[in-house]
């Protein structure tokens, strides 16, 4: 099952943990907020993405099922 990384921009407070744990998919803008690509993640990357989502202090990183 492939997933997609998404940010809840209201919840996000620019802690930046996600960009450290999933640098392949997430970069930070100049204010520290994550920029994610909308591409599906799977396999080993999915494990990293899950860890990044769990590490977010405000639960702002979501792993959504692909429609």
């Amino acid at each position: 099952m492939s997933r997609r990384v998404r940010v809840n921009p209201i919840a996000c407070e620019a802690h930046g943990m996600c960009a450290e744990l999933l640098p392949e998919r997430i970069t930070l803008d100049e204010w520290g907020y994550p920029i994610v690509d909308g591409e599906p993640v799977s396999g080993e990357e999915l494990a990293h993405a899950k860890r990044a989502a769990q590490a977010c202090p405000t639960f702002a990183l979501l792993l959504e099922r692909q429609g």
């Binding site: 921009p9 803008d29 907020y33």
Partner: protein, 459 residues
């Protein structure tokens, strides 16, 4: 639906069926002095609202014939997004639970007055539309949301609800109707913000999903629809899709309300056929009183167009699309040659940045940075073009609502419409017109006690 059903929908109200190809529709019965259409006049002009064949609850799966009629009419939302109304009705009706209707008349666009004008002058059409929509989707309740500064609209709709019951319209079968006054900041009318407010929260956008159609006011499936869209629905329920399509273009059917501002003899709210030319609108308003440099079309999430493109342009989605513009909320603000388009853009950009609800980082920081970059450009600090492009790319699609995207589109359109003016300011700083009085309206921070009242509408 076959034609026989269609005629059932529009019963032989022959004495009330106005000539399909003529205007006004929504503003029919509004007297020359801009008088309000009270209930008796409403009934004599439009006739009563026919039974629309609704379903009593979501448990009855069959679709209301009105939904099919609206689909055939091709009615698109008039609040800004031009979303197909039939699809919205279907989406809400398909969700389990008793639905609710929210008629959105909050009209956050500073340059738009058409929703408040419609509610003030023809409140019964808006109520009829809310009732018809409610019956079609099995809703038991309809809320009409007005903007707190539009006291006239609030009072007119409140009075109309009293007039309805005094006139014996509706009765116990009818969905309950209530007017609610909502805050006036820019994003307050965004549908998730409005739902949030009606649920007792702040009027701020929420993260989606869930969208209001799945879980809205009181966690119920919620139809949030612009008040003008509902007024059109009320006429489609009476006269049918074929009548509706007698005006407009194939992709943009019917009439629409526009708010015309700027150097014309009689600025105000006009009802036009979609697809009619901007030139004919200006003529209806008594012609221009000053040479025109360009126009803002749609609203502050809309697009600027230079004068050279205005001469032949028609007002509909398909005619505006090649110019990167949209009908939006029906705003047509003409800029005179006295105005500096750069200074006007800078003012709007700074105001839009200040209207960020402060929830999403990329919007809070990005819009402020974008406005600052423009201010530096206007002062002659160089074009900073790379920086503007970069900011536009970084900001777009990163907010919970469309506010940052709207501002990016507006700025891109300004740079496209007035390239020489921007290049000139970047090199030489302010021009002599930069000090001209502002032409595009910007509300000061909503002050309590501030009221918009007098309205003029023309068909």
């Amino acid at each position: 639906m076959n034609p026989a059903d269609a005629s059932m929908l529009a019963p032989p109200a022959a004495d009330h069926a106005p000539n399909a190809g003529s205007l006004p529709r929504l503003l029919a019965g509004v007297s020359d002095d801009g008088g309000r259409v009270h209930v008796e006049r409403h009934l004599s002009v439009h006739g009563g609202l026919p039974l629309v064949g609704g379903r009593r609850s979501w448990r009855r799966r069959e679709e209301s014939p009105l939904v099919e009629e609206v689909h055939r009419a091709g009615l698109l939302g008039r609040g800004g997004a031009a979303f197909p109304m039939a699809r919205k009705l279907q989406a809400v009706a398909a969700v389990r639970g008793t639905a609710i209707v929210v008629a959105n008349g909050t009209e956050g666009e500073p340059a738009s007055e058409k929703d408040a004008t419609l509610m003030e002058l023809a409140p019964h059409l808006v109520l009829d539309g809310a009732v018809a929509a409610a019956e079609a989707i099995g809703a038991t309740e309809a809320l009409i949301a007005t903007c707190e500064i539009d006291v006239g609209a609030f009072e007119s709709v409140s009075l109309a609800i009293e007039e309805r019951s005094a006139a014996g319209i509706g009765g116990s079968d009818e969905p309950s109707l209530r007017v609610v006054s909502a805050p006036s900041h820019y994003v307050a009318g965004q549908e998730t913000a409005l739902v949030n407010y009606l649920d007792g929260g702040p009027a701020l956008p929420t993260f989606t999903p869930p969208l209001p159609f799945e879980r809205g006011v009181g966690r119920r499936p919620t139809l949030v629809s612009n008040v003008e869209t509902l007024a059109h629905l009320a006429l489609i329920a009476r006269h049918g899709a074929r009548w509706f399509r007698a005006l407009g273009t194939p992709a943009g059917s019917g009439s629409t309300l526009v708010t015309l501002a700027g150097p014309v003899a009689r600025p105000g709210v006009y009802e036009i056929a979609l697809g009619s030319s901007l030139a004919s609108l200006a003529r209806a308003a008594g012609g221009t009183t000053h040479e025109v440099r360009g126009a803002l079309i749609g609203g502050y999430a809309g697009a600027f167009m230079p004068a050279s493109r205005l001469r032949d342009v028609a007002l509909s989605e398909e005619h505006l699309a090649p110019h990167g513009a949209r009908m939006g909320a029906g705003v047509v603000s003409l800029l005179s040659t006295d105005a500096c388009p750069v200074a006007e853009t800078v003012r709007v950009a700074r105001w839009m940045a200040g209207q960020s609800s402060g929830q999403c980082g990329p919007c809070v920081h990005g819009l402020d940075a974008l406005a600052g970059e423009l201010e530096r450009l206007a002062q002659g600090a160089g074009s900073g073009e790379g920086r503007l492009d970069y900011l536009a790319t970084v900001i777009a699609r990163r907010g919970a609502c469309g506010h940052p995207d709207g501002m990016v589109k507006l700025l891109e359109s300004a740079l496209r419409a007035f390239p020489e003016e921007f290049a000139d300011h970047a090199r030489h700083g302010p021009c002599e017109r930069c000090a001209s009085p502002p032409e595009l309206p910007l509300p000061a921070r909503p002050v309590s006690g501030e009221r918009r009242r007098s309205r003029r509408a023309t068909a």
